[in-house]
C-alpha cells in the first residue's frame, strides 16, 4: 500500500551528525527493519519518516509524494501513518476502546462504523474482552497490543514500530514477533521496524538495513546479511562471530601466534582477518585444520557452548552440537574443522568499512 523513497537524508542535532547521507527505498508491503546499536541513528530515521523530526537536508517521499524536503514538510497528523512507540504511549485516561478508537474519531467516522472497526481490530490483537479496562489495569503485553491496535485501526498505508518489544519479557517477545509478522501479512501493509535485537530483525524482516554511526552498513535479506556480512561490524553485530588475525601467502593464511595455517585461494594479500561463525567450527578428536585445548564447555540444552585455546593464548568460541558435551572433556586436545568463513583485509582499525 505504500512505498518509501529516502534520498540523501542527513540529520544533525547541533554539531552532532547522527545520520550521514541515508539513501534507501522501501517496496510496497515490505517488512523492513532498521537494525543497529543504540545511538546509531535508526530511531531518528524512523521519527523523520513519522514527521516528528525534520531532516537537516535530503528528501523523504511516501508513495512518490514528497513529505519532507527543503521546501515542503507534511506534519505527522497529515501523513496517514500508524506508529507503535517504545513506551507504548497508551493514554492513561482513556479505556482500551477509546484508545483504539481515537484515530477514527479524529477522522469523524460515524459512531457505528467506529465500533465495528475497533471491535474488528481488537479481535486481531486479542483484546476483545478488555475493551472497558483502563491501561493501568493491563499488563505490559496487553498495553503493547493496545498500542498496536491503535496504530492499525485507521488502516494506515504505513506502520512504524519503534522497538515495540523491548519492554516485554522473553517469552512474550517471542510470541509477539510472530503475531506482528502475521498481522502484517494479513493486512498487507508496509512496515518499518526499528530494533537493536538481531533475532527480531532476522525473524520478521523481508529486508534488513544495518546501521552504525549514522551510516548504512549493509542492506539485504536476513540470510544474505547473516551469511555474507559486508564488513566486520555487520558480522559481529548480527549473530556471533570469531575473528582470527592472520597473514596470507602462498595459498595459505598463517593464523597469528599459532604457527598453524588455513588454506586460502582468495585475492587478498598481506594482513587479513578471518571471520567465522562459532557454529561453523566443528570439534574433532583427531585431524582438523587448527589445534587447541578445550578450556570450557557450557551445556545449553540445544547446543554446547565451548571455548578453545589456541597455541599462543588466543581463545575462540565454538558452538558445538549438544552431544559433544559428553564426548569431550575440558583440558582435552581437540582439532577444529572450519566451515564457511570470510576473509577481510586487515588495516588495523576500521571495522565498519564497507568492503563489498
Amino acid at each position: 500500500m505504500a512505498t518509501i523513497q529516502i534520498e540523501n537524508v542527513r540529520k544533525c542535532f547541533g554539531n552532532i551528525e547522527v545520520l550521514k547521507g541515508f539513501n534507501q527505498n522501501v517496496e510496497d508491503k515490505e517488512f523492513i527493519t532498521l537494525l543497529g546499536p543504540s545511538g546509531c541513528g535508526k530511531t531518528t530515521m524512523l521519527r523523520m519518516l513519522a514527521g516528528f523530526e525534520k531532516p537537516t537536508s535530503g528528501t523523504i517521499s511516501i508513495d512518490n509524494k514528497v513529505v519532507s524536503s527543503d521546501k515542503t514538510f507534511v506534519p505527522p497528523e497529515k501523513r496517514d501513518i500508524g506508529m507503535v512507540f517504545q513506551s507504548y504511549a497508551v493514554w492513561p485516561h482513556m479505556t482500551v476502546f477509546d484508545n483504539i478508537a481515537y484515530p477514527l474519531k479524529i477522522k469523524k467516522l460515524p459512531k457505528e462504523e467506529i465500533r465495528q472497526k475497533v471491535e474488528a481490530i481488537m479481535e486481531v490483537v486479542h483484546l476483545s474482552q478488555y475493551a472497558d479496562r483502563i491501561p493501568s489495569q493491563l499488563s505490559g503485553g496487553q498495553q503493547q497490543r493496545v498500542a498496536l491496535g491503535r496504530a492499525l485501526v485507521a488502516e494506515p498505508r504505513l506502520l512504524l514500530l519503534d522497538e515495540p518489544l523491548s519492554n516485554l519479557d522473553a517469552k512474550l517477545r517471542e510470541s509477539m514477533r510472530f503475531e506482528i509478522k502475521e498481522i502484517q501479512r494479513k493486512l498487507g501493509i508496509t512496515v518499518v521496524y526499528v530494533t537493536h535485537d538481531q533475532i527480531e530483525a532476522m525473524t520478521m524482516s523481508d529486508r534488513i538495513i544495518v546501521i552504525n554511526d549514522g551510516i548504512i552498513q549493509q542492506v539485504g535479506g536476513p540470510m544474505d546479511i547473516y551469511r555474507h556480512p559486508a564488513n566486520q561490524f555487520v558480522a559481529a553485530f548480527v549473530g556471533k562471530i570469531v575473528f582470527l588475525h592472520g597473514d596470507t601467502g602462498r595459498g595459505k593464511i598463517t593464523v597469528t601466534g599459532t604457527g598453524q595455517t588455513l588454506d586460502y585461494d582468495g585475492e587478498l594479500t598481506g594482513k587479513v582477518i578471518v571471520a567465522i561463525r562459532p557454529e561453523s567450527i566443528h570439534l574433532l578428536k583427531k585431524g582438523g585444520i587448527l589445534h587447541g585445548v578445550l578450556k570450557t564447555k557450557v551445556f545449553m540444552g540445544d547446543v554446547n557452548d565451548c571455548t578453545v585455546e589456541l597455541p599462543g593464548g588466543d581463545t575462540i568460541r565454538v558452538i558445538a552440537p549438544p552431544e559433544t558435551y559428553d564426548e569431550y572433556e575440558t583440558g582435552e586436545e581437540v582439532g577444529l574443522e572450519f566451515g564457511a568463513c570470510h576473509v577481510y583485509e586487515d588495516d588495523g582499525s576500521d571495522v565498519t568499512r564497507i568492503l563489498t
Binding site: F52, P76, M83, A89, K107
Partner: protein, 568 residues
C-alpha cells in the same frame, strides 16, 4: 498587563514556530518591567540617593542603633529558627515517612497543612498564650507548678524564635519528606546487604544522600523567617525590632527620606535572599542525588519496635503544642467577650465577632478585594505557568530559561522588597501608574507566588511522556486537538492544584499588602492586622479562625476535584 502572555498567542497565530518566541518575549517583558526594573531601581536608590553615588546613606542607616539591632535580631532569629526547624523537621519527616509510627498519615496531612496557615495566626495565638502579664498558658503553667511569676515572656527574641520555628518548620518538613519519599530504597538495601547495620546505613547512606535536601530546607526556613513580617510585628510588639518591622515603620514614616531609608535597609534582605537563592539553586541544587525514577518507589519501612508507642506519644505532644493549642487559642479568643478569660468562663461567650464577619462592611470589602486579587493572580499566574511548563518540557526554544530564572528570582525575593520596588517605580514616575490599585497587588502576588504554580505544572508535564502526544499526532490529531484530548486531561489535576497553590497565599497575604494597599483596596491581611494591633484581638481572631476553616475546606475541595491526587 497588556504585556501578559495571554495576549501573545492571538497576535502570532500564523507563525507556528515564532509563537514560542512571542510567548517567551512577553513573559520576559512582564517580569522585566515589574520585577527586574523595580529591584534594580531599589539598589540604585540605596547607592544614589541624591542622584550621585554615595555610601553615606548606607553608613547612616546601618549605624543607627535601632536599625543595627534590627539586623542583628533578624540574623539571630532567622538563624535559630533555621537550626531548630531542621532539627525538628528531619526526625519528624523520617518518623512519618519511613517508620511504622501510628497515625502517620494523619500527622503528615496535619504538618503539611500548617504550611498553608498564615504565620501571623500563630503569632496572634502565642501572643495571647504566653503574654508576660496575662498569657493563658503562662497562668496555667504557673498554677500547675506553683510559680509566683509567669514563666514565659513571648515578647522577646526567644519568643520570636519559638513562633518562627513552629510556623516555618513545615517548609523544611515538606522539602525533606519529599526527598525521603523519592529516595530509591534499593540504595539502602544495597548497604544492608553489604553488611551495614541500620544505624550505619542511616549514617553512611541515608544522611549523606539527604544532605543537599536538608541544607536546601534549612536555607528555605532561614530566608522565610528573615523576610517574615507578621510574626515579628505581632510578637515583637514594638519591643523587639527586625529588619522587616523597621522597613515597614520607615515606610509609614513616609517622605522621601523614610522611603530611601527603607530601601537601604531592604538591600540587606535582598543580598541574603540572593545568596540563599544562589546557594540553593547552583550549589546545593547541583548536588541533588535524588532523581525521580519512573518506577514507583516504595520506601522500606523501619520497624520502631518498642519505641513505637513512646515515639507516637512524643509526636502527639508535639502536634498538640505546635498545632492544636495555638489554633484552639485563636478560636477561643474569637468567642470571648473579655480577653483575659476563656470563652468557656461564665458569661464570657459571644458570637458577635463571627457575626460581624458577615455584616461589617469593612471586612466584606476587604474579603472582596482579597478574593478578586488572589483569583486574578492565580488565573494569570497559572496561564503563564502552563506556557512556561510547555516551553520548558516540550521545546528547545532558545531563551526559555530566562523567564524560568526570573520567576525563581521573584519567588526568592522577600515580599517586602518586591512591594517596596513596585511602590517606588509604579507611581507614574516611569510611565506606568498603578499606585493604589488592586492591579499593583495582583502583580506583586504573581511575582512572589508564580513559582508554586509553575513547579506543579512542570512536574506534571515531565511525567507525561512526549510520546503520548506524538501518538495523538500520528493518529491524525492536530497539535491543538492533541493538546485538548491528551495533554489537558492529564495535567488538569495539577492545574487545579497549582491554581490553589497561588490563590491561597495571595488570599491572606499580609506583608506586600501592608505596603501596597490604599483605602479602596484593603485586603483581609491588612484589616486583620489592623484589628489585632489597634481595635479588637477577638475580631482579628474570628477572621483568623475563618481563614483556618477556609484552608481546610479548600484542601478538602482540592482533594475531591483531583480525586485524591493532590492536597495542599
Amino acid at each position: 498587563m497588556e504585556t501578559g502572555a495571554s495576549a501573545a498567542p492571538k497576535t502570532a497565530k500564523k507563525f507556528y514556530f515564532d509563537i514560542k518566541w512571542v510567548a517567551i518575549f512577553a513573559i520576559i517583558m512582564f517580569l522585566t518591567v515589574f520585577e527586574v526594573f523595580p529591584l534594580f531601581y531599589l539598589v540604585y536608590r540605596a547607592f544614589f540617593p541624591e542622584g550621585a553615588f554615595t555610601l553615606s546613606e548606607f553608613q547612616d542607616v546601618y549605624s543607627y542603633p535601632l536599625n543595627w539591632i534590627a539586623v542583628r535580631n533578624t540574623v539571630i532569629t532567622a538563624g535559630s529558627s533555621m537550626l531548630l526547624g531542621v532539627l525538628i523537621a528531619f526526625p519528624l519527616a523520617w518518623l512519618v515517612g519511613r517508620t511504622n509510627l501510628y497515625f502517620k498519615k494523619f500527622f503528615r496531612t496535619l504538618f503539611v497543612m500548617t504550611y498553608m496557615v498564615p504565620p501571623y495566626v500563630g503569632a496572634m495565638a502565642w501572643l495571647k498564650l504566653l503574654n508576660p502579664t496575662v498569657g493563658t498558658l503562662n497562668k496555667i503553667l504557673a498554677a500547675i507548678f506553683g510559680l509566683s511569676d509567669l514563666p514565659f515572656n513571648i515578647e522577646t527574641i526567644g519568643g520570636m524564635i519559638w513562633v518562627l520555628t513552629t510556623f516555618y518548620y513545615p517548609y523544611a518538613f515538606i522539602t525533606i519528606s519529599r526527598a525521603m519519599e523519592k529516595m530509591d530504597p534499593s540504595l539502602e538495601e544495597a548497604s544492608k546487604i553489604s553488611g551495614a547495620s541500620p544505624l550505619r546505613t542511616l549514617m553512611t547512606i541515608t544522611l549523606p544522600m539527604m544532605a543537599p535536601s536538608v541544607v536546601a530546607a534549612g536555607l528555605l526556613v532561614f530566608i522565610s523567617a528573615a523576610s517574615c513580617y507578621g510574626i515579628p510585628s505581632i510578637v515583637g510588639a514594638g519591643k523587639v525590632n527586625t529588619v522587616t518591622t523597621r522597613i515597614i515603620d520607615l515606610v509609614y514614616v513616609g517622605g522621601t527620606q523614610g522611603l530611601v531609608d527603607a530601601v537601604t535597609l531592604a538591600v540587606f534582605l535582598m543580598v541574603i535572599a540572593n545568596v540563599v537563592l544562589y546557594l540553593s539553586t547552583f550549589v546545593v541544587g547541583r548536588k541533588q542525588y535524588i532523581t525521580v525514577s519512573g518506577k514507583s518507589v516504595r520506601p522500606n519501612i523501619v520497624d520502631l519496635g518498642k519505641w513505637r508507642v513512646p515515639l507516637t506519644i512524643l509526636v502527639i505532644v508535639f502536634a498538640v503544642v505546635v498545632v492544636a493549642i495555638p489554633f484552639i487559642s485563636v478560636f477561643d479568643t474569637s468567642f470571648s467577650i473579655r480577653m483575659g478569660k476563656t470563652a468557656w468562663d461564665e458569661g464570657n461567650f459571644t458570637i458577635k465577632y463571627w457575626a460581624s464577619l458577615f455584616s461589617r462592611k469593612q471586612i466584606l470589602n476587604a474579603m472582596q478585594h482579597s478574593l478578586i486579587a488572589a483569583a486574578s493572580a492565580a488565573t494569570a499566574g497559572i496561564g503563564i505557568s502552563c506556557v512556561m511548563a510547555y516551553l520548558l518540557t516540550r521545546t528547545r526554544a532558545r531563551g526559555r530559561r530566562i523567564p524560568d530564572f526570573l520567576i525563581t528570582l521573584g519567588s526568592g525575593t522577600p515580599s517586602i522588597v518586591i512591594a517596596l520596588g513596585l511602590i517606588m517605580t509604579m507611581n507614574g514616575k516611569f510611565v506606568i501608574n498603578i499606585y493604589n490599585t488592586l492591579l499593583i497587588m495582583i502583580i506583586a502576588y504573581m511575582i512572589k507566588y508564580l513559582l508554586m504554580g509553575m513547579r506543579t505544572i512542570v512536574s506534571a508535564m515531565t511525567q507525561i511522556h512526549a510520546s503520548l502526544e506524538e501518538a495523538a499526532l500520528i493518529s491524525g490529531a492536530s497539535w491543538f486537538r492533541s493538546f485538548k484530548d491528551i495533554t489537558i486531561p492529564l495535567i488538569a489535576p495539577s492545574v487545579v492544584a497549582g491554581w490553589f497553590l497561588i490563590f491561597m497565599p495571595c488570599f491572606y497575604e499580609l506583608t506586600m499588602s501592608t505596603i501596597l494597599y490604599s483605602t479602596n483596596t484593603t485586603t483581609i491581611g491588612v484589616i486583620l492586622f489592623r484589628f489585632q494591633d489597634y481595635d479588637s484581638q477577638q475580631m482579628a481572631s474570628a477572621m483568623a479562625g475563618a481563614i483556618l476553616i477556609f484552608i481546610v475546606l479548600v484542601n478538602w475541595l482540592l482533594n475531591k476535584l483531583t480525586k485524591g491526587k493532590f492536597s495542599i
